[in-house]
């Protein structure tokens, strides 16, 4: 893949990826933007490992998910759910307040369940694709989806 082709693909995928990462980071824009940048740069530097037969978007999501896990391992900060519902994240706009409840509900989910739920409901990936992105098995992903859905049912009773 040439650099020009890569830029064109990124241009068509960046909004979807950034939306996914914003939800994955529970509304923390700074973290989401850092992760998006890290994932895209990593993708560019790993173009040699990309196989044309693989879907570019799914490959990008896999890199982004791994970048997310790495950042979590490095991070020592924890944000309790109460803080997520009451304190505005840096650079939060009215938009952030609009989705505050959803972000707080996502924050309750463990990272794998949150990722599975977002890849399924937000990004529209099938269970098999999610298993490939997360590097897990299909039964494990189904379990994570089920648990994530049940927890969201409790934390978002009005929406679900």
């Amino acid at each position: 893949m040439t650099k020009a082709q890569f830029i064109q693909l990124v241009s068509s995928e960046q909004e979807r990826l950034r939306r996914f990462l914003l939800a994955l980071c529970c509304g923390n824009r700074a973290d989401a933007e850092d992760l998006a940048q890290e994932a895209l740069m990593h993708a560019y530097l790993s173009l040699g490992a990309y196989h044309e037969r693989e879907k570019f978007a799914a490959w990008l999501h896999r890199i982004a998910y791994n970048a997310f896990l790495d950042s979590r391992r490095r991070s020592r900060r924890t944000e309790p759910m109460d803080a997520a519902t009451t304190i505005a994240a840096p650079g939060q706009t009215d938009d952030g307040y609009r989705y505050q409840e959803l972000h707080a509900a996502l924050n309750v989910l463990p990272e794998k369940e949150r990722t599975a739920v977002l890849l399924f409901y937000l990004q529209g990936y099938a269970v098999k694709e999610i298993a490939e992105i997360m590097g897990g098995s299909i039964p494990a992903v189904k379990k994570q989806l089920e648990r994530g859905r049940d927890k969201l049912k409790v934390t978002l009773p009005r929406a679900v």
Binding site: R18, M41, D95, Y99, L118, Y121, A159, V160
Partner: protein
């Protein structure tokens, strides 16, 4: 599972799908984002080219040193082995016992010394190669994190 449970799960599924379908946070201008991204990509590309050029120069230096070492080392070793067995490599002209011993075993000691030099050279080449790979990895990683 009762039919009611299955219906309930399906409805919840639809509710969740709709909830996330309505998730449209403001991410700013896509064009602005791509312009910033491409600028960062240029910076990463510049560093990558610099690192590759640096590695190419190092490789040439290492190959030249290797060739020179092989040629000189072979020449010295051939000279040592071709000298008559009863002629010492070094003549110290001393009567001290340890110096006489060195003189008598100078051929063997020279060969051992040459082998040590070759071993150190190989270790040096491998270490330099590993350092180069680590340096280029760390440099590129730092650039795309800070760009």
């Amino acid at each position: 599972m009762t039919e009611e449970y299955i219906d309930d799960m399906t409805n919840q599924d639809e509710d969740l799908r709709q909830l996330f379908a309505d998730y449209r946070p403001d991410l700013g201008s896509g064009d602005d984002y791509m312009q910033r991204f491409q600028r960062k990509l240029e910076a990463v590309e510049m560093v990558r080219q610099y690192v590759e050029a640096h590695q190419r120069r190092n490789r040439l230096t290492v190959v030249a040193a290797l060739v020179l070492g092989v040629v000189l080392g072979s020449a010295v070793m051939a000279w040592v082995l071709l000298m008559p067995a009863d002629t010492p490599i070094i003549a110290l002209g001393s009567t001290a016992q340890w110096l006489v011993w060195i003189e008598q075993n100078s051929r063997l000691l020279t060969l051992i010394f040459l082998s040590l030099i070759v071993s150190l050279g190989i270790i040096g080449i491998l270490t330099m190669r590993q350092d180069n790979m680590d340096a280029s990895r760390k440099t590129l990683s730092a650039v795309h994190k800070n760009a």
